[in-house]
């Protein structure tokens, strides 16, 4: 009964089973979506629902073709993507950095956390008009809105992650006479990484909301802008198109973060 074989044998089989389960659930979701979309198109084509007032899959496709041909879809998508990503990086970056560095000053961290809970409680959407007036109606204000939306969550969870480090591990480091900066670099930061990634995944949604809401309030371009204008003109197909592209954008960003997480946080095996 060797130690080595016991621990390594089951893992590949389990991984394969997981992969198969993931594929079947993806397949099921795809199948349900296709059925729903088909029903929608049939209902619109037969006039059971007002295809023009509610939009229809065929209408959405046609709208997409027009938007691509007119050269508006791609620039709008890139605008919102830029605002979301830059806002996410700035907001989360600052939040995570600050949250982790607060580990050095535990007395201040209580106060800082109180502030960030307060900041988090403010509905960022309510801050929207303020931000737009301060920063103008170009991309800068949307980046700031996205950043603010992600900052508080990032800071609170990194602060908590830094504090949650195993007491015994901390003591072990101290027993080896490690300086606080060493403890921070070699223990606090690596152990907080799994938390940081899950926060990032959540923040993608917040950043996107911040950017889109900013575009609703005042903008020249972007998917939120297109959706807002289309809604006022009762052009529901464009609204649906905007929603679909925004969803795809959020999904893509989440996949990227998950991919990075798998590469960097190699020690968390999925059970």
């Amino acid at each position: 009964m060797s130690d080595v074989t016991l621990s390594t044998a089951p893992l590949p089989r389990r991984a394969k089973r997981h992969a198969r389960r993931d594929l079947t659930s993806i397949g099921a979701v795809a199948a349900i979506m296709i059925v729903l979309v088909a029903l929608w198109q049939i209902a619109a084509a037969h006039g059971w629902i007002n295809g023009q007032l509610f939009g229809s899959p065929a209408g959405i496709v046609k709208t997409a073709q027009i938007a691509l041909a007119q050269g508006t879809l791609v620039p709008d998508t890139l605008t919102t993507l830029y605002e979301t990503v830059v806002g996410l990086v700035i907001g989360s970056g600052l939040g995570i950095g600050l949250g982790l560095l607060l580990w050095f000053v535990p007395r201040v961290s209580g106060v800082a956390e109180g502030f960030s809970v307060l900041l988090n409680s403010i509905p960022k959407i309510a801050l929207g008009p303020l931000i737009v007036i301060w920063f103008g109606s170009d991309m800068t204000s949307k980046v700031w809105l996205a950043a603010i939306s992600t900052f508080a969550v990032a800071m609170i969870s990194s602060c908590a992650a830094a504090r949650e480090v195993d007491r015994d591990l901390l003591n072990l480091f101290r027993s080896f006479n490690a300086r606080p900066s060493m403890i921070f670099r070699k223990l606090i930061v690596p152990s907080a990484l799994p938390w940081i990634f899950s926060t990032l995944r959540v923040n993608i949604g917040f950043a996107l909301i911040g950017a889109v809401v900013g575009e609703y309030i005042a903008s020249q371009a972007g998917l939120g802008h297109a959706v807002f204008v289309a809604g006022s003109l009762f052009d529901l197909n464009t609204v649906w198109l905007g929603i679909i592209v925004l969803t795809l954008m959020a999904t893509l960003l989440t996949w990227i973060v998950q991919f990075a997480e798998k590469r960097i946080v190699t020690w968390k095996t999925k059970r």
Binding site: Q52, L53, A218, F234
Partner: protein, 328 residues
Amino acid sequence: MENKTVKHLRAACAAAFATGLVAHGAYAAPPEKVVVYQAFQSIQYLPLYVGIDKGIFAKHGLDVQKVTAGGGAAGVAAVIGGHADFSLQDPMTAILANLKGATLVNVANVVAGVPVWVIAPGNSPLKSATDLAGKNVATALPPTTSTYLLQRMLKEQNIGDVKLNTVQIGTELSPVGAGRSDAAALYEPQADEGLAQGYKILYAFPKAYPGGYAFSTIDTLAATIKTKPQMVSEFVKAIGEAEALIQSSPATAKAVAESEFPTLSKGVVDSAVDRLIGQKIYAENPEISEQAFRNALDLQEFVGNIKPGSVTYASAVDNSFAKAASGK
């Protein structure tokens, strides 16, 4: 012990009270509840507020509840969805919904002129519209009539290279104050707010449109006209009376405006109302003439939201109530 005068006084009061009760009793039917969705709380919509605040709707047996929708499309959507009996906004919004299958009809004109001005700070080197070439103008996020009018004016006068800074309606002055824009295209009361700070007018849109302009109207569902014609008729009559009252008594109009916009300085409110009356922006009667309708439609066709030939006056307007209200 009472003296004779007091006794007579008491009797007279009792008699008056009794008469009042009887008179009130004769009007036994309770007022009909009516919901109106307005696109914004706007000083341009003063006829509606005068109608409510001065009891004109009540006199016509209507208990009008006004709801601010936050945009023209939301108001129209409320009428379509049955949450509102009427909505007040750009008639073209109702037309756009009709093009998608809705059945809205415009029944009364409220804003019969074009309440849009282009202004710039007092110390700005800009003097007229042609100076806007190459400059940055703050204007409301489309789809708004002010922005469309600006775009058409710039095109017709060949003023090139103008950057539009589109912001939330009502905040057009902020970018100018912050130095990000050189001028602003806006409605009242922002126009008079700016003028009060020393701004000057570069271009004024309220020029006479022959036949008027259907800028903001009251619309309702065709079904409502069929099932409640009496209610629609009373509503339009009341609007007409309110509009007449504004023309005959600007002081009353200003008083209502001041109470509806308590956060604005009285000076600004009064100048705004004066300007809107003087430039004939407020409809003098609720009729929507074919020409007025056409003028509004031309703009939407210019912008490309509506294809020429897809809308007719007859399909979009029912002027009969307005005509009856004007006594014709």
